[in-house]
Structures are given as C-alpha cells and as structure tokens.
C-alpha cells in the first residue's frame, strides 16, 4: 500500500512550519512520529495535499520538569524517551505507568506523545493520562501561543480544536499540589492491540488525604471518558475500602462501552470498576508502606 501523492516539506523552524500550514489552508498536515498518520495515509483515510515533516526542527525532543514542578513534553519526544526517562519514573507515576503500554516497543521508538494526543483516537493512552492529570497542550500559530486543556482539546474521534495553522508544540502536566500518585492499568488482548479498556488515575496527595483527583478511561466511549464524578468523590477524602469502592462504581458508571470483538459492554464496564479499584488500592497500600 502507498499513500496518495502529496507535497513534502521539511522545515527547520516552527515558524516556517506554521507558514506552510497557513499556506495550506487546511490541506496541510503535520508529520511527527507518523505511527498513526502514515498508516492512515496508506489506507487513504487521510490524503493531505502537503505534509509538513517537523522531524528536522531541532529542540523539540525534550521532556523536563520546570522549577515549579510542571512536566513539559516537546512535540518530538518519543514514547520510548518517556518509557526510559528516569526523571518521569521518579516523579510522574501515571505517565510512567502508561509509557510501556503504548502500542509496541518498535512503534514507541518513533511515535510521539504530543502527536498521539493530537491524533484524538478514543483508544489513545496518552489522552486519558493527560485528562486525569489536568494537562494542557501548548499550540503555536501565526499570532503566538495559547494553552488548551486536554479536556477540551479533543472534540471527537480524530478531531481536535487546533486551527489549520496551529502546531501543538508541547504538552504540559501541571505541577502537583503535594505528592503526585497515580497508575495506568490497561487490558489488551496482545501487545499492540487497542485497549479493551484502560483506566488512568492521577492523584495529588498530602499524606493520606487526596487533594486533587483525576480519573479517565480509554477505549470505553466515542472519545476518552473523563470520569469526573468518580474523581471528585475522592477529593478531600482518604483512600479506604469505602471511598475506593464508591469511586470505582462511579468510574464504571461513566464508561460508555460498546460490545465488540474485544468484549461485551458489561464486561468492559466491569473491567473499569476493577481497574479503578485496583489502581486506587495500589496507591493506598504503597502510601501505608511509606508511612
């Protein structure tokens, strides 16, 4: 299989890339890792007139925590960079848990975090993590930069709010209030398959009290599901059997799964309940050990 013909551009600055997008009037598309876009080009689900390859723009492969504790992930930071990152393993448990579960090890050498968020696949692991973490995308266009919360960034399957001449230059996880705790649990039939269901949990904790909670669900709706009621039920409380069971029930109720070849809707809902409880119990028991 091969894609439709397109013009290929490989700018060396973000400004040039934005100018190319602007000139494309909606018919130009950014190529970052290409691990979703190239297959879509080959299947001709996508047929842009122009591809703007950003891989030759220097300085976009970074990830780092700033002085305030926010995690910044550049547009060319690959899944593998995150998987191997000592600083993320130490400081951002939700992202660290999801990294080895994205696609397969070879796709992870090429695919990018920011590209995956932009792609807006309801099966995407990173969107769930970013929603649970209250993360945002920094978009740059001809008139400068703006910040877009991931909760309102994806508007539907494979759709986001970026203007035709805007590039998502980085994703940011805000600094936690207190200690960042979290998990990402995913059920997949085999490596590289889409999730049957997955649950992202991100908590900011002070001692054993939850200051802020985020719970988001992968693969159980037309877009990533923000289980906000489940998360809010935890805010201000401790993690005990009752609060965990309540949050797990609310998360399962927020899921909108459909029966398909990966499982029945009720099975997927059950998985969401189980994974939410398991993630929260794991955080609670490791807090006890640390205390």
């Amino acid at each position: 299989m091969y894609p439709s013909r397109f013009n290929y551009e490989s700018p060396s600055t973000i400004e040039e890339a934005i100018a190319l997008l602007d000139a494309g009037r909606g018919e130009a598309k950014i190529l970052a890792g290409g691990q979703s876009l190239v297959p879509m080009l080959k299947l001709r689900f996508a047929a842009p007139e122009t591809l703007v390859d950003i891989n030759n723009i220097p300085g976009l492969g970074y990830h780092h925590f700033d002085d305030a504790g926010a995690l910044h992930i550049g547009a060319l930071c690959r899944h593998e960079d995150i998987e191997k990152s000592a600083v993320i393993a130490e400081r951002q448990p939700t992202i660290a848990a999801a990294a080895p579960l994205v696609a397969d090890p070879i796709v992870r050498t090429r695919g990018t975090f920011v590209g995956s968020v932009c792609h807006g696949d309801p099966q995407g692991d990173w969107a769930a993590c970013m929603i649970a973490l209250d993360g945002y995308v920094v978009a740059q266009g001809p008139n400068g930069r703006r910040e877009i919360p991931v909760k309102s960034f994806v508007t539907g399957p494979f759709q986001n709010v970026l203007a035709h001449n805007e590039i998502a230059v980085e994703a940011v996880v805000p600094a936690p209030r207190g200690e960042a705790r979290g998990a990402y649990l995913k059920l997949e039939r085999r490596v590289g398959d889409f999730a049957t269901a997955a649950v992202a949990v991100a908590l900011d904790m002070s001692g054993d009290v939850v200051l802020r909670a985020g719970i988001a669900l992968t693969g159980v709706g037309g877009t990533t599901v923000n289980a906000s009621e489940a998360a809010e039920s935890l805010t201000g409380s401790t993690l005990d059997a009752d609060s965990i069971a309540r949050a797990a029930e609310l998360a399962a109720a927020a899921a909108q799964p459909r029966s398909d070849h990966r499982g029945s809707a009720s099975y997927k809902r059950h998985i969401v309940n189980t994974f939410t409880a398991r993630a929260l119990s794991g955080i609670a028991s490791s807090s006890e050990r640390a205390a």
Partner: protein, 174 residues
Amino acid sequence: MTSLYEEVSVTPVDVPVRRVTITVNGERRAADVEPRLLLAHLLRQGFGLTGTHTGCDTTNCGACTVLFDGRPVKSCTMLAVQADGHDVQTVEGLASASELHPIQEGFKEEHGLQCGYCTPGMMMAAKALLEENPDPSEDEIRWALSGNLCRCTGYQNIVKAVLWAADKLRASAG
C-alpha cells in the same frame, strides 16, 4: 562492491522527486524518490535489499523492522524521504563476507525460524536489544520482540536464539 554513490530511480519520470542520500549498511546510497515512497519500498525495490520483508503493511507485524540511527523502526511506516541524511541498517548488514553475525548463528543453531518471513525483523529487533542490554533475561527478550509477530514458531526458539546470540556476543566481547 557497488560504488559509494550508486544512484537508483524508483519513480516515473514525470513526477516531482527529491534526492535523498542514506547510509545503508555503512554504504552511502543516493536515490531520487517520490515523497510518498515508503522506506521499505526504497530498500527493497530501489536498493534491491529484499531481506527487509513487508508483512502486514499496517504497522503491526514488524517483519519490515530496520535500524534507523540505531533504533528499530517499522520501515513500512516511514517515508523514504525521512531517511535523508540518516543511517539505516538492514538484515543484509548483519553478516560479514565470511561469517554470519552471532544473531544469525543463534537463529540457525536454535532453529529460531520456520518459514522465515518474520526473521529479518526479529533479528534487527534483537540487535537493537542486545546493543542496549547485552545480557537480557528471557522476559526482557520477549518484551523487546513483542512488536514482531511470528505465526510459525510460538516464539520459544526465537527467544532461545537471542539468548544464544547474547552468550556468544558476551563471550567474544569479554
């Protein structure tokens, strides 16, 4: 040996092309390519390196795995133009003129293949693993090869082959 600057054309004459120069298995190669040409196709049809197999053509199976600047990539999921100025290693780059690479020897000794279709991708993924981790556990090998599908072997002998290669490489390094 072919010349250092062997030129090939894999596109019709009336289509806009871009000149790319790629170091393939240590040798600089140039080609005029249409932007939509996939790296796997340039390697196979352009450079005649048919050891890189295209299996699923949908980013699943990993038969087309090559090393791009030392890291494994699925060459059916990259454009050939993106390899301009970069280093690519294919399965043809493993053996020297006189002897097999220890990874190839391992696959031979441990019967790590049956039909052989997935083997080039398996070996390149294994090479990337062993360069990073010379003494992997069985689990680590299974993990590193989890983006490569084999429908014949059940993986057991592939894992043994990589363990065999790791032993030999460590012995020759030490």
